[in-house]
């Protein structure tokens, strides 16, 4: 597969297939994520976004196909790869019965972060939640909790970051702040980010390239503008609806 993007490929899926009881949640999915790129995974519920991300994190084993990160097969180098990666999801929490700083200290130690205290303080400042450090995590609002999760996700200066609907259930103000922080950190550190969302504004603002999934297969790929033009629609949201309502579209 020739790759027009000269940047290093940090995550690659080849012919990734995942079946559940005979139903294909992923059907020969192939994709590449480059260093410094934000790749959006879009699709309706059940399109295969979360399954793809779970496979890439090693949480779910694929039925067939290959996964590699930093040029190494995931199944053989999982721990080494996870040391250079991180993950945040709207649906996964840090322990609600610990204080924010306690949770972050634990994960800083797991990732072997040097000068963890300073690192945590810097990230809390960056995400404008320094005042929450001593609060119990379970008592935070959705927006605060999301930003604490992002703090955890940035702790080890990941080269590869997977964000699963990071702005789900956030109000527009906080969602905007989260998008800006993700963009800023990505630009400063050249992280490769795999980003899933149902929020088209997220995708248009944050992602360099988008992959549309439908029934586990890629039905469109390109920049948000390219995809809108290709489908002759007015917006990415219209494309989303068109794809979600059509079972036969294939690029």
């Amino acid at each position: 597969m020739s790759d027009p993007d000269p940047r290093e490929v940090i995550l690659e899926a080849r012919d990734l297939t995942r079946e559940f009881d005979g139903v294909k949640a992923l059907d020969r999915l192939s994709l590449r994520l480059h260093r410094g790129e934000i790749l959006g995974l879009l699709g309706a519920n059940g399109a295969g976004k979360t399954t793809a991300m779970n496979c890439m994190l090693g949480l779910t084993l694929p039925t067939s196909g290959q996964l590699s990160a930093f040029g190494k097969p995931l199944h053989k180098h999982r721990i080494e790869i996870l040391q250079r990666a991180n993950f945040s999801s709207a649906y996964v929490s840090l322990p609600g019965n610990l204080k924010v700083w306690q949770n972050l200290v634990v994960f800083a130690k797991i990732y072997g972060v040097r000068d963890a205290k300073r690192k945590i303080a810097g990230l809390l400042d960056l995400l404008e939640i320094a005042h929450l450090a001593d609060r119990v995590t379970g008592q935070l609002s959705a927006g605060e909790s999301t930003r604490v999760n992002l703090c955890k996700a940035f702790l080890n200066d990941p080269e590869l970051l997977m964000l699963d609907e990071p702005t789900a259930s956030l109000d527009p103000d906080i969602a905007d702040k989260v998008r800006k922080v993700v963009r800023r950190v990505q630009a400063e550190r050249g992280i490769g980010i795999l980003y899933t969302s149902h929020n088209m504004r997220d995708i248009e603002e944050v992602c360099d390239r988008v992959i549309f999934l439908h029934k586990g297969r890629i039905v469109a790929e390109g920049t948000p503008d390219q995809i809108v033009q290709k489908f002759a629609e007015n917006s990415l949201e219209d494309v989303f609806i068109k794809i979600a309502r059509s079972g036969d579209i294939e690029e």
Binding site: R18, F20, A25, T50, T51, N54, L57, G58, L59, T60, L61, I79, E80, L82, Q83, A85, N86, F87, S89, Y91, V92, S93, L94, P95, G96, N97, L98, K99, Q102, V105, V106, F107, K109, I110, Y111, G112, G138, K152
Partner: protein
């Protein structure tokens, strides 16, 4: 295995238990209730039975304390895992660079900490309230403690594997599994007084050798070391089997894609 990762995971539980003193209730309150019930029963029997039997029944207190060592070791593994499930933190751990062996090692260490807290409290209270000194077991206490801890870890891995297999609906197994075997490991009565059909079953568990040994030591001051060797060998078999079961079920859970559902439900 990375000790830093294990320490980080243990630190999480230290934060949890020191932040919320209510958590100490399960480690101190329930064992104390058991101790007081068994202690008072022991006093009653001592005062109302023959002197010979009265001296002998002190083993009830020893058995109760040693049983708690096994139970706390098992709880260290099973409850630590459930804490991650209850707080929806399991995925954060599984997508971090944490090997399954490191995760298990951390839960083993949590078990040791729980044993220390419970053991010190029970040891002190039994000595102050009932003049029962656990150290009358002298050096035998060390192999007894280690064997029960190892068996507790095995039961912890089995409980966790079963919960992984059947989901959160089966979480009561975290408390129930040790009690499935309690009637047949001769905690409070000798194997010889158990029904004949259950005696071979009793000898298939390493804990049985410890409780039999404890009674021997309290009566005669010594025990057959061959029994301890058998307990160690059985413990190794149980650890390998329980570890294999845990890894196999975790692999199946990943293969079936159930880990994420289980961790976010």
């Amino acid at each position: 295995m990375n000790l830093r990762v294990i320490w980080a995971l243990v630190l999480r539980y230290i934060f949890l238990y020191t932040r919320n003193p209510i958590r100490l209730v399960e480690m101190v309150f329930w064992p104390l209730v058991d101790l007081l019930v068994w202690g008072n029963l022991t006093l009653f029997l001592q005062r109302n039975t023959s002197q010979e039997f009265g001296g002998f029944i002190l083993f009830l207190l020893g058995a109760m304390i040693l049983w708690d060592i096994l139970f706390r070791a098992q709880q260290g593994v099973a409850i630590s895992f459930l804490e991650d499930v209850w707080t929806r933190n399991l995925l954060n751990v599984f997508v971090a660079p944490v090997r399954t062996t490191e995760y298990l090692a951390a839960t083993f260490m949590v078990g040791v900490l729980r044993i220390c807290v419970t053991g010190v409290v029970l040891g002190l209270v039994s000595w102050l309230a009932y003049q029962f000194n656990l150290f009358t077991l002298e050096w035998w206490l060390v192999p007894f403690f280690l064997n029960l801890m190892l068996f507790g870890w095995s039961l912890g891995m089995i409980s966790t594997a079963l919960i992984l297999r059947w989901g959160q609906a089966a979480e009561s197994l975290a408390w129930a599994v040790p009690f499935f075997i309690q009637p047949v490991v001769a905690v409070f009565y000798p194997v010889a007084d158990m029904p004949a059909w259950s005696q071979p079953l009793a000898w298939s568990f390493p804990a049985t050798y410890v409780f039999e040994g404890m009674r021997d030591v309290m009566q005669t001051g010594t025990m057959a070391t061959g029994l301890l060797v058998k307990a160690v060998l059985l413990n190794l078999v149980y650890l390998v089997a329980a570890g294999a079961l845990f890894f196999q079920i975790l692999r199946l859970t990943r293969k079936r894609g159930l880990l994420t559902k289980f961790a976010t439900q």
